[in-house]
């Protein structure tokens, strides 16, 4: 490998192609990247791994000129550079291919490539097409430059984007979750292509959630967690391991190896509730299918017994929202059945399901959870507007509404200046408490929690988790959707893993659960 890298860079033959030095990126309230230092070498496929929100996309945006670092610097071929715009990054030979194609759908591939040339010129469609074909052939692929972009598969579009980057002279290519939406066959093609590019002496950065791909195509691996670089595998170590060892080590880096800071939310080894396996389930989901353009959901079979918490793990966007909305009645069910206490509810309205005892705590708190301009008192009754005793003959009963609000505010410790305060003015944690107060009534039989601690601070996280435990202790059935593995391990009795709209496995929450859920999430054994 040393031989090819020496041939690769002109400026500094032995140095890295691109180096990130102590780079931090701050957004209001979030430290997305925390002093990251990584070298990217020519001739290597460098895999970046990390959960959602680990800071991978932010890092990529800084490398491609879409964002600028708050601190630290980026060096290209050993020279510090200010990547102020995408154009500048392109000029420096940094190209990127994203999960979603960056080609205009109504133009042909050749026209897309010709974007950005002198505006009054006639696009040289034929010349560009020939050049594209030649470049594609040089890396062992074939493309159809005259085809309209929207008529092509995502895999074909991404290959075209790589060809475009090569035509611009990119020596450094970033593939940001480029395989996430591809069919296995297309993903393999892309994997072989990136191996080929690295062999030609280019630098490739490959971001993926699938460990099989990381191990198969990567030379070097870096792992990010919560904006920090937490470790990695050098080419020497990676080569010395077989695939299973490497996967275990990566899963440990990504999900395991508890750090001091996460000790604070201590893990109860296994939930103490006793679930009677013979008891009749409260919530029963049978062969559920839900339509969706991006992520259709199918083959969902879950039974939840009284007092049981079933966790749904998975990387964001794998159908969790679609599933939750279908259960709550906010999205039509295509096929399959949902039983609540033995009553089929899949054709019932949102209100009817609620009256039967099904609650849904949404993760879109501001969007669909509350009406921000309404007072706290009304938001607490948002799903019962018109119901007695709060409304009689269509007229508001202010006393009843206020009494209900006072009660809930103190029971759920909602910190608000008053029950007349517009709910939108509360902090995220208190809005979540408001939603919990509304959804966790005595009549509730089953609760769906969607990312219940997402975006909350430690104290509110703990409060929310306690409410979830209480719900289970009160013998309700709980479906807990979360992208945080630690949370699921702390609360759930069983954990189902969702991937591409399907449940790919359900594991009991015991000592090996972390490893097995991590493997299922990362597509091991697909």
């Amino acid at each position: 490998m040393a031989g090819t890298s020496a041939a690769a860079t002109a400026l500094d033959p032995n140095g890295p192609l691109v180096s990130v030095r102590n780079v931090s990126k701050r957004f209001p309230g979030i430290l997305a990247n925390d002093r990251i230092t990584i070298d990217f070498w020519p001739g290597e496929v460098h895999v970046l791994l990390g959960e959602n929100g680990a800071g991978k996309s932010t890092l990529v945006s800084m490398l491609t000129g879409f964002l600028q670092p708050s601190e630290g610097q980026i060096e290209v071929a050993g020279v510090p550079q200010d990547l102020a715009s995408p154009q500048r990054a392109l000029d420096l030979g940094i190209g990127a291919v994203y999960q979603h194609s960056m080609l205009a759908p109504t133009l042909t591939l050749a026209e897309n490539v010709s974007l950005g040339r002198s505006w009054w010129r006639r696009p040289d469609r034929r010349g560009i097409a020939d050049e594209m074909r030649k470049t594609a052939a040089s890396v062992g692929i074939t493309i159809r430059p005259e085809a309209l972009t929207s008529a092509l598969s995502l895999g074909e579009r991404q290959q075209a984007e790589i060809v475009r980057a090569l035509m611009r002279g990119s020596r450094f290519l970033i593939l940001d979750e480029a395989t996430a939406m591809l069919t296995p066959k297309d993903a393999e093609k892309l994997g072989n292509l990136m191996r080929r590019l690295a062999q030609d002496g280019r630098g490739v950065v490959f971001i993926t959630h699938k460990l099989n791909e990381a191990v198969s195509y990567g030379d070097r691996i870096s792992v990010l967690r919560q904006g920090k670089q937490v470790g990695g595998l050098t080419p020497e170590r990676l080569r010395a391991m077989d695939k299973d060892e490497a996967r275990d080590e990566i899963v440990r880096l990504m999900f395991g190896a508890r750090t001091a800071s996460s000790e604070m939310t201590k893990v109860a080894s296994a939930p103490r509730r006793r679930i009677d396996g013979t008891e009749k389930p409260i919530l029963e989901i049978l062969a559920l299918e839900v339509d969706d353009d991006a992520t259709p959901v199918s083959g969902i079979d879950v039974k939840i017994r009284p007092g049981e918490i079933v966790g749904i793990a998975g990387i964001d966007g794998n159908g969790q929202v679609q599933l939750a909305e279908a259960l709550a009645g906010q999205r039509p069910v295509r096929d399959g059945r949902i039983y609540l206490d033995g009553v089929p509810i899949e054709d019932k309205s949102i209100g009817a399901r609620r009256n039967l005892g099904l609650s849904y705590v949404t993760d879109d708190r501001l969007g669909e959870g509350i009406v921000g301009t309404f007072p706290v008192s009304l938001n607490l009754l948002l799903k019962q507007i018109g119901d007695t005793p709060f409304w009689k003959h269509g007229l508001e009963q202010p006393l009843e509404i206020a009494r209900n609000a006072e009660e809930k505010v103190s029971a759920f410790d909602i910190r608000t200046p008053g029950i007349g305060t517009p709910a939108g003015k509360l902090s995220g944690g208190n809005i979540q408490k408001l939603l919990l107060a509304r959804e966790l009534g005595e009549k509730t039989r089953a609760v769906i929690f969607a990312k219940p601690t997402y975006g909350l601070d430690l104290q509110n996280i703990e409060a929310s988790r306690n409410r979830i435990r209480e719900a289970a202790d009160a013998r309700k059935a709980v479906l807990l959707i979360s992208t945080e593995l630690d949370e699921l391990l702390e609360l759930s009795d069983r954990i189902a893993v969702m991937s591409q709209g399907r449940i790919v496995g359900i594991v009991d929450n015991n000592e090996t659960a972390r490893q097995r859920v991590g493997e299922l999430m990362s597509g091991v054994g697909e």
Binding site: L90, G116, W119
Partner: protein, 310 residues
């Protein structure tokens, strides 16, 4: 049928062209904005500003040519607000568009009042060019080939824009700016610049359309004289699906509806003018119902572009 006499057809076609040229200009302009992803509702105001400045300069200088130039400039001036507020600062295009239209209506009415009080001076009849031989064809000849130079110019613009969209990189950039601005940005083209150029061009064309109404159509300026022509332009642009030739077809059709009153009077048929004047708007609704679902608008139409918001 007695209705289809030569006089009637000539009046109808001539009227369709006269009423259709402002629609054509304004529709071509709106089409360009929309292609680039900017929904330009301020176009009615740009048209009115063009009508006012065009009339004023034509009246002061007694030159039609200068009048048209000034009209284009007036429309562009209003468009400048749109470019700064909606493209550069990314404010809501609908709100800004409505304010610009209302603002231009008020401003031109007041300026006109200060200058002319309640009088409405009339411009002399405009110069016409007869095209040799073609002009002698019955019906089509007098209606189409004995017209003001600006008519020929507007028709010529159709092919210019068709060429621009299909045959230049600028056309590709416009389309990418409307469909996937991030793709254009990552190709190293400044999305905001492309959109600003489109909006300013729209302003010039709308202003020209307004000036046509004042200088050629009416010969006078009356406050609010554009009468929703700009809004019909928006409909035309949406229905034309990016093709300038379709704008021409639509403009002629709507122009014919607008001019039917005069033509029917020529034919001696008495229908209340109010009914006739509803025709273009009824036509808009019928066309929208039939073709509206296939309007095929750019994906990013109406959304401001800010880098990094993926």
């Amino acid at each position: 049928m007695a209705l289809f006499t030569e006089a009637f057809l000539t009046a109808l076609l001539a009227g369709a062209i006269s009423a259709g040229i402002p629609l054509l200009l304004v529709g071509l302009g709106e089409q360009m904005s929309e292609k680039s992803g900017v929904l330009n509702i301020g176009i009615e105001g740009m048209m009115l500003a063009g009508a006012y400045t065009g009339f004023l300069i034509a009246w002061k200088t007694e030159s039609m040519g200068l009048g048209f130039l000034a009209g284009a400039g007036g429309g562009m001036f209003v468009a400048l607000f749109m470019a700064v507020l909606c493209v550069r600062l990314g404010l809501n295009q609908i709100v800004i568009g409505i304010s610009l239209t209302l603002g231009a209506e008020g401003a031109t009415a007041i300026l006109h009042y200060f200058q002319f009080s309640r009088t409405y001076p009339r411009l002399p009849a405009t110069l016409k060019w007869d095209i040799p031989f073609l002009h002698d064809i019955p019906v089509v000849g007098p209606a189409l080939f004995g017209r003001e130079p600006i008519v020929y110019f507007a028709l010529f613009l159709v092919s210019v824009f068709a060429y621009l969209y299909r045959r230049t990189h600028f056309g590709l950039a416009l389309q990418a700016a409307g469909d996937k601005p991030a793709a254009l940005d990552s190709s190293g083209v400044d999305v905001l610049k492309v959109r600003a150029v489109a909006v300013l061009t729209t302003g010039a064309l709308a202003g020209l359309g307004g000036a046509f109404m004042a200088i050629v159509g009416a010969g006078i300026f009356v406050p609010f004289m554009t009468h929703g022509n700009g809004f019909i332009g928006i409909v035309l642009a949406m229905l034309a699906r990016g093709r300038p030739l379709w704008v021409l077809g639509g403009a002629t059709l709507f122009g014919a509806c607008l001019s039917l009153t005069t033509a029917l009077q020529v034919a001696g048929i008495d229908i209340p003018t109010d009914v006739i004047q509803m025709l273009p708007f009824a036509a808009v609704m019928v066309v929208l119902i039939v073709l509206g679902s296939k309007a095929n608008l750019p994906v990013s139409l109406g959304t401001a572009y800010a880098r990094g918001e993926r």
